[in-house]
Subunit: 232 residues, 2 copies
């Protein structure tokens, strides 16, 4: 592990409040690995051996069933993933693979559970994190069940726009085929949805998005704090 890795991990909400002793105990058994792109880090169904911390690069969480596959989430540095499986000592429900060359810290699940038993602040942080994860998946479900694919795309663009500091021109942060899967549609259908947004003041050229009429776009997409907000 690099010296610079440790403070970065320590800064994460999940670890920032725990005692030095607990943190040291957690880091002691950790190890780091650099992975090339397109490498499977985790396979759904496997026992949750490690809590993963993505230090650099990017990864995707996906799930499959009966030959179909869907993108559940993308992970960007610095953040942890698959906390719930680690906590419950259950099987992973999602698979994970790197998208780019990525650096990952692996914390053995048993160490995480030990730290959680011994350190109340860490337990607190875990509760906060899990509650947030839960709420974010509930929002996803509402998004899927209550909106058409065009509405999901429109809202995704508004969220990206806000994420980019409310810039009217910004880049898609993933390939369109991944975006399509994330939004629960096919790549072909995404292409058409992109064209269908033109009358609402959206121009997408390659990875560049330009919003020319925010009123019309918002009238279509009707963003809601209870579906689209990051925090809360």
């Amino acid at each position: 592990m690099r010296d610079s890795d440790i403070p970065e991990i320590r800064k994460l909400d999940l670890f920032s409040e725990m005692s030095d002793a607990s943190f040291a105990g957690l880091i002691r058994g950790a190890y780091v690995q650099d992975f090339p792109p397109q490498i499977d880090l985790v396979t759904e169904g496997d026992p949750a051996g490690f809590l993963h911390v993505l230090m650099s690069g990017s990864a995707e969480l996906y799930a499959d069933w009966n030959g179909r596959e869907t993108l559940m989430a993308t992970v960007r540095p610095v953040s942890t993933f698959i906390l719930a499986a680690t906590i419950r000592d259950g099987p992973y429900l999602m698979s994970a693979r790197t998208i780019e060359k990525s650096r990952v810290v692996l914390l053995p699940s048993t160490d995480v559970r030990t730290a959680f038993e011994q350190d109340h602040e860490f337990a607190r942080a875990i509760v906060g994190e899990l509650a947030m994860c839960y709420r974010s998946v509930v929002k996803d479900t509402k998004n899927l069940k209550l909106r058409t694919s065009l509405e999901r795309l429109a809202n995704y663009l508004i969220r990206s726009h806000l994420h980019a500091g409310a810039a009217l021109e910004f880049d898609l942060l993933m390939e369109k085929r991944r975006l399509a899967s994330f939004l629960g549609m096919t790549p072909e259908n995404l292409s058409r949805a992109i064209k269908a947004l033109r009358p609402y003041g959206v121009r997408i050229d390659g990875a560049t998005v330009r919003i020319t009429n925010m009123e019309d776009l918002k009238a279509l997409s009707k963003p809601s704090a209870l579906i689209d907000d990051y925090a809360t």
Copy 2:
């Protein structure tokens, strides 16, 4: 509050391991109410004032957006709901209403957070509960994104069959229109899906389900532990 309510609450996983003192502190500020059917208990967007415990009857968690509504989950006694909003002190993401005449215990969110600060066992239990809730919503999302409505229905029936002690004949535990909304389809489409399952050895008459050919049904529905299992 009835005398009999308290031990029932105490028996829940969430409360069974906490100290007597913490539990008493939690119960002290609690109050109970009996509600008629079809009463709104919680409205999405409102601040999370209480952790709810359903003692008897039944309730549904639903969400709406832009005039559409969808059933997210049904709650049966004895269990808690809307824990995550309470913990994060955020707005409710789902609304709740009674289905039948129901008895509900309300625990003020501030008391829950206080108990959680002071009682490590309670914090432990909350972590376990939240991790389970999270995983169950992830399974829902996989179900929605990876399966057609017919496959979702087929798998729902197998889950109900297992829930009924593997009986080949059992009752639907909710109205068909609610089931349709829960499965993310219209009532009309559910009617047709029910007929479409007949060749696979499923007979549904009113609320009574009879499975006559489990092999065919399983061949269609391909149940997966990573989507359909209750526990894990």
